[in-house]
């Protein structure tokens, strides 16, 4: 098996990369926020603006250390982050870490559902299309994928909402739970009902890359010399798919699926906003629009880690499962 030492070295290397990546991302996003017209004091005061005088505002700024130059402010913020203190969200009036944790749990369900659905459906559709290359089914899949690859997620979400929620009334129009119901009385079924449309929107968009990739890869495999030899040995198309096709396309597909965490996260932000679904994406949009700088930066860092983990898993799968990489390194 894959050496324990190699696995350890792999994770140490990845961790080092993550640290440098986080430093780079934090500096970049902190600079962008500093340069943006967002005034944290104004964002904090909100509607009470008229009642707070200029002097008071300066006092607040001085209290927060906003009068210091940006590099100093960055260092103060970064050292707090390192100690595990991401600050307090102005919108939620709660520690940023807690907000992210709660919101991420809502998003996780949505992302997981969409991720699994798009992966499974995309893989099957791509496989079938390649097996029946140039048939009407294949043409349909390819047409569908190209069309959807060019469709923005938010627009698709709006269309689905109009059709299934407004016209047909099958699903609720938005939100994560029914309005006007006490939190204790919300059932799992309610939550599921609210999850369906956002999850479908997100997965419909996610199907295209995995289906196209799987189709292309399987066509390559089917025209390879080893499949020709399998045919010469008398193997049927189905057994060729099972024995040689799956083996050779599953890992690349899995890798692609893990590497797509960034698209998944980006799509979630849009879809949650369209459906007013209370998740991390929606929190990010709110934080951006209402100038909640600590929350915004916290989510940026969190999403960096999230996407990085996806990529690291993809990388790890390749190294551990593909014998060409595994045993070439071991020997």
């Amino acid at each position: 098996m894959y050496g324990l030492r190699r696995t350890g070295a792999f994770f140490v290397r990845k961790a080092a990369r993550l640290v440098t990546l986080l430093i780079a991302v934090s500096i970049l996003s902190f600079s962008l926020v500093s340069l943006s017209p967002i005034d944290p004091v104004q964002a904090y005061i909100g509607a009470d603006l008229m009642r707070v005088g200029a002097e008071q505002r300066e006092n607040i700024a001085a209290y927060w250390g906003l009068d210091a130059p940006p590099p100093e402010r960055y260092l103060r913020w970064a050292s707090a982050v390192v100690r595990g203190d991401l600050g307090t969200s102005m919108i939620y009036r709660e520690p940023v870490a807690k907000v992210i944790q709660e919101q991420f749990f809502h998003s996780l369900l949505l992302m997981l559902a969409a991720w699994l659905m798009s992966g499974v459906i995309g893989f099957l559709a791509g496989s079938l299309a390649a097996m029946k290359k140039d048939s009407w089914f294949d043409r349909f899949i390819v047409w569908y994928c190209y069309t959807l690859a060019a469709t923005p997620a938010f627009w698709l979400g709006l269309v689905l909402m109009v059709v299934f929620s407004v016209w047909l009334g099958w699903f609720p129009v938005g939100m994560g739970v029914p309005a006007g119901v006490l939190a204790e009385q919300v059932t799992w079924l309610d939550k599921l009902e609210h999850l369906v449309l956002p999850a479908i929107t997100l997965s419909i968009v996610g199907i295209a890359p995995i289906a196209l990739h799987t189709r292309q890869k399987l066509i390559e495999v089917l025209s390879s010399d080893y499949v020709l030899f399998a045919r010469a040995r008398g193997e049927t198309p189905l057994s060729i798919y099972r024995r040689h096709g799956l083996r050779n396309i599953a890992f690349p597909a899995l890798t692609l699926q893990f590497a797509s965490f960034s698209e998944l996260f980006g799509g979630t932000v849009l879809v949650e906003h369209v459906f007013s679904y209370p998740g991390l994406g929606e929190a990010m949009v709110e934080a951006g629009l209402r100038g909640d700088v600590p929350l915004l930066l916290g989510i940026v860092l969190f999403s960096t880690v999230f996407v990085f983990i996806g990529n690291a898993i993809a990388d790890f799968i390749y190294r551990v499962i593909d014998p060409r990489l595994r045993e070439a390194q071991a020997s």
Partner: protein
């Protein structure tokens, strides 16, 4: 009765000439030869003569845009596409060119076991590995871990365990060291001696002559000569077709004489004898029509100038032919 007989085999493919027009291009035509049980027949020819396609046509595994016509008989029974499908891997086995024909993500032992027709694949695979001097741990290796010689032995193993009576080897020797070449070819000879019909498709005339009984020479998609292997000797004067002789004389140890011109591309074949444009014996009648395959001195040849030994003393065939016309 020959185990495998091929008659007037033709292979063509369809290609798009323009946006709307398709055209059929012939790659192989009028290929004829047979292989007896216990015999090694070598098919030789330069690259581009259609050698690999011949192997694929015999197994019915041509690419989709290709079509084949003609007759392939196994033990006298004509094989149609359906019958061919049932036979391949069971009665007719392919020994492919290189390690690229093995699934890169499957252990080689498992791939050999896929070819076993009996009820104990493990025993059959281990026995054949032992027989070919492959260490027991080889079965757990992946194709990329095999050396060239090991890969050869694994590929031959797949044919051996299948118990097929007809073995078609497609270019079994390129890129191998001299020792591995001899060993690879010896395995084919052993199969023939055990009663199989073995067809070795190659451009390595020299090596294959050490095991072949008969040689089929392919040029521009057709058989130009079928000769006993013993005729490839000396200056090649016992060969019947000028192309076979030229091929023989082009070998380094036989004078290294190059043949002028190039083999015509499929679709651009001359109307008469295909070799006429490059042939130093070509006469006007060579360009009229394609010569039929005819028997000359225990071999067959597709050339109107070929003559048997008796004719050498009297009038030659070409004079007789031109008198006749």
């Amino acid at each position: 009765m020959p185990l495998l007989e091929i008659e007037r085999l033709a292979v063509s493919f369809t290609r798009y000439r323009s946006r709307w027009g398709k055209e059929k291009v012939q790659v192989l035509h009028d290929v004829e030869f047979s292989v007896d049980a216990g015999e090694v027949v070598a098919v030789i020819g330069a690259s581009g003569s259609g050698k690999s396609l011949l192997a694929h046509a015999l197994l019915g595994i041509l690419p989709e845009n290709f079509s084949a016509s003609g007759t392939i008989r196994y033990r006298g029974e004509p094989l149609d596409a359906e019958r061919l499908k049932q036979m391949r891997g069971k009665e007719i086995a392919l020994v492919p060119q290189s390690v690229r024909f093995l699934d890169p993500l499957m252990r080689v032992g498992a791939q050999v076991r896929l070819s076993v027709r009996g009820d104990d694949p493990y025993a059959a695979q281990r026995e054949v590995f032992h027989r070919y001097g492959l260490a027991p741990e080889t079965e757990n290796m992946y194709p990329f871990q095999l050396s060239g010689g090991m890969a050869r032995r694994v590929l031959v193993s797949t044919a051996t365990v299948s118990g097929a009576r007809v073995i078609i080897a497609d270019e079994p020797t390129p890129g191998l060291q001299a020792e591995d070449v001899r060993e690879a070819l010896r395995h084919f000879r052993e199969h023939a001696d055990a009663g199989c019909a073995v067809l070795v498709i190659t451009h390595d005339i020299e090596s294959v002559l050490t095991i072949a009984d008969r040689v089929v020479v392919l040029y521009a998609g057709t058989t130009v000569e079928i000769a006993p292997a013993a005729d490839f000797t000396g200056d090649g004067s016992r060969l019947r077709h000028p192309y076979s002789r030229a091929l023989w004389q082009a070998l380094p140890q036989n004078g290294f004489t190059p043949i002028p011109g190039t083999q015509p591309q499929p679709g651009k074949w001359p109307s008469g004898c295909l070799f006429a444009p490059r042939c130093d014996q070509a006469s006007p009648e060579c360009t009229f029509s394609r010569p039929e395959l005819r028997t000359v001195r225990a071999g067959q040849v597709r050339c109107i100038h070929a003559h048997s030994e008796d004719d050498e003393r009297g009038i030659s065939i070409d004079e007789a032919a031109s008198d006749g016309i």
